[in-house]
């Protein structure tokens, strides 16, 4: 399992607010949250890719993360003031290599 840089994620989780619905564990594509327990627990925060799924689906607003796409071209475009913060942008120039198509041949 590939792992990116350590101690860099903006993921914050307030266990006191957790209602134990298990949604965070369900939606996280990297298994950062552990299962259907109350409160949910973070297993390995360095696996977080800041997609924001957990935050969006937490009904108790116990999770915050600065969601974004880890894409260097997007960062460059953002720094140059062209396009948004993400290279997936539908209106960005055609042929954008990033975020091409579901990243995985089998993902929907």
């Amino acid at each position: 399992m590939l792992k990116y840089l350590s101690n860099v994620t903006t993921l914050h989780y307030d266990a006191d607010k957790c209602v134990g619905c298990g949604r965070c564990a369900e939606v996280c594509p990297h298994g950062v949250f552990a299962g259907h327990q109350r409160p949910a627990a973070i297993t390995d925060r360095d696996r977080c890719m800041e997609c924001g799924a957990c935050m969006r689906n937490c009904p108790a607003e116990a999770i915050t993360v600065r969601a974004g796409v880890g894409c260097a071209v997007g960062v460059i475009y953002g720094a140059l003031g062209i396009g948004g913060d993400c290279c997936c942008s539908a209106d960005s120039s055609a042929g954008d290599s990033c975020c091409s198509d579901a990243e995985s041949p089998d993902a929907q």
């Binding site: 860099v8 880890g70 579901a102």
Partner: protein
């Protein structure tokens, strides 16, 4: 723009991002080949779709993977029927990117189901979710537009897990009455997920980045960067040809030929070799991995004599040893956008270190190479 010949999108959707209302109800003479009929429902007729992909579907997918006409590869949003669905059949939600749609329907063979296609502007589920176009609002709107509540008597939507960054399940429930169940990440797991009573195993919930996943994006990376690399290589070829003994870009221009070839090799290093070897390269950052590959390429080129190693060529040697790893590092760094595990914060941290080095090394390499042109003979 794209050629529409092999594209099976509805004509009215080819124009661009906004889908006119005509996409909702397809005229009978305007149907793509994957629509094989119509099913009547309390909410009106619903297109009946094939689950087997045709050769045309696969060829079009290959073209998309090579970056040809990708941006307008959309299917009309709306409700579709698979098999012989009734009011109790499950509803699977997907994006209106044709590849996402195809990947889903080809796994629904033998099933009776409804497919609710959201308008994600022709973008795949995960990227659209990140942008919010695959999101709560669009689900609620599409459920309402299609009259789904009259078509099925249950109140459950199966939403792909990678759509979760844009979808607040509890909000969908509140606003539409439909409960969201997150389906597996990979469409191939859908039959097992359904058979298990709509529960996914942990493995189904984990995104992977195996060799096959990594190679899938390689052609697009190459297509994206090759024009730039060719331009740099051509510039080097011409500059060296003009400077060294008249305009001779071949025999008398050994430096130009070697430099151009090394630029292209550096591109291959960053766009192909680094992504494929990613798990075994001893660096955590993509730029670091690209740099390692670039250094290896420079070493091989030196061993082959393509980078000279002699006292009188030291400037040229230094120039090429700076330029090759820098190109590989930069191109590999841009691969972060295609990975499934890099965070924005991580990429920013990587770039804070890598970009200044790339700029310094690239500029120094270019200056040295130019100086070497005039000094070395």
């Amino acid at each position: 723009m794209n050629e529409t010949t092999t594209q099976q999108t509805d004509r009215c959707c080819d124009a661009g991002d906004s889908q006119p209302p005509c996409c909702e109800a397809q005229a009978a003479d305007d149907q793509p080949a994957w629509v094989i009929g119509e099913i009547n429902t309390p909410a009106g007729p619903v297109p009946h779709i094939a689950t087997a992909l045709t050769l045309a579907d696969r060829l079009a997918a290959a073209r998309v993977r090579l970056g040809i006409g990708r941006m307008s590869y959309a299917v009309p949003a709306g409700l579709y029927a698979v098999g012989s669905p009734d009011a109790a059949s499950p509803v699977l939600v997907t994006a209106n990117y044709k590849l996402s749609f195809d990947r889903l329907r080809e796994r629904l063979g033998g099933m009776d189901a409804w497919v609710l296609v959201l308008d994600t502007k022709g973008i795949n589920v995960w990227c659209a979710a990140g942008k919010g176009t695959f999101g709560t609002d669009e689900i609620v709107r599409r459920v309402s537009l299609t009259g789904l509540a009259a078509v099925v008597d249950h109140r459950t939507l199966i939403v792909p897990q990678l759509g979760a960054p844009g979808v607040a399940a509890h909000e969908v429930k509140k606003q539409s009455g439909f409960k969201v169940v997150y389906g597996p990440i990979r469409a191939v797991d859908i039959p097992a997920f359904m058979a298990a009573g709509m529960t996914a195993t942990d493995a189904m919930r984990r995104v992977r980045f195996g060799l096959r996943d990594r190679s899938a994006v390689v052609p697009l990376e190459l297509v994206h960067w090759t024009p730039w690399a060719l331009a740099v290589a051509a510039a080097g070829l011409v500059a060296a040809g003009l400077t060294r003994g008249g305009f001779d870009i071949t025999a008398g221009n050994w430096l130009g030929v070697r430099s151009a070839a090394l630029v292209l090799a550096a591109l291959v290093g960053g766009a192909v070799i680094a992504p494929l070897l990613l798990p075994i390269l001893p660096a955590k950052t993509l730029s670091g991995q690209g740099m390692i590959v670039g250094i290896a390429i420079a070493a091989v080129a030196t061993a082959m004599g393509w980078i000279p190693l002699a006292r009188e060529t030291v400037i040229e040697t230094a120039a090429l040893w700076l330029i090759v790893p820098t190109i590989s590092a930069f191109v590999a760094m841009t691969y972060t956008g295609a990975t499934t595990y890099t965070s924005l914060s991580g990429v920013r941290r990587e770039m804070r270190l890598a970009v200044p080095i790339q700029i310094a090394a690239g500029a120094a390499g270019l200056v040295l190479w130019t100086v070497g042109l005039f000094l070395g003979r």
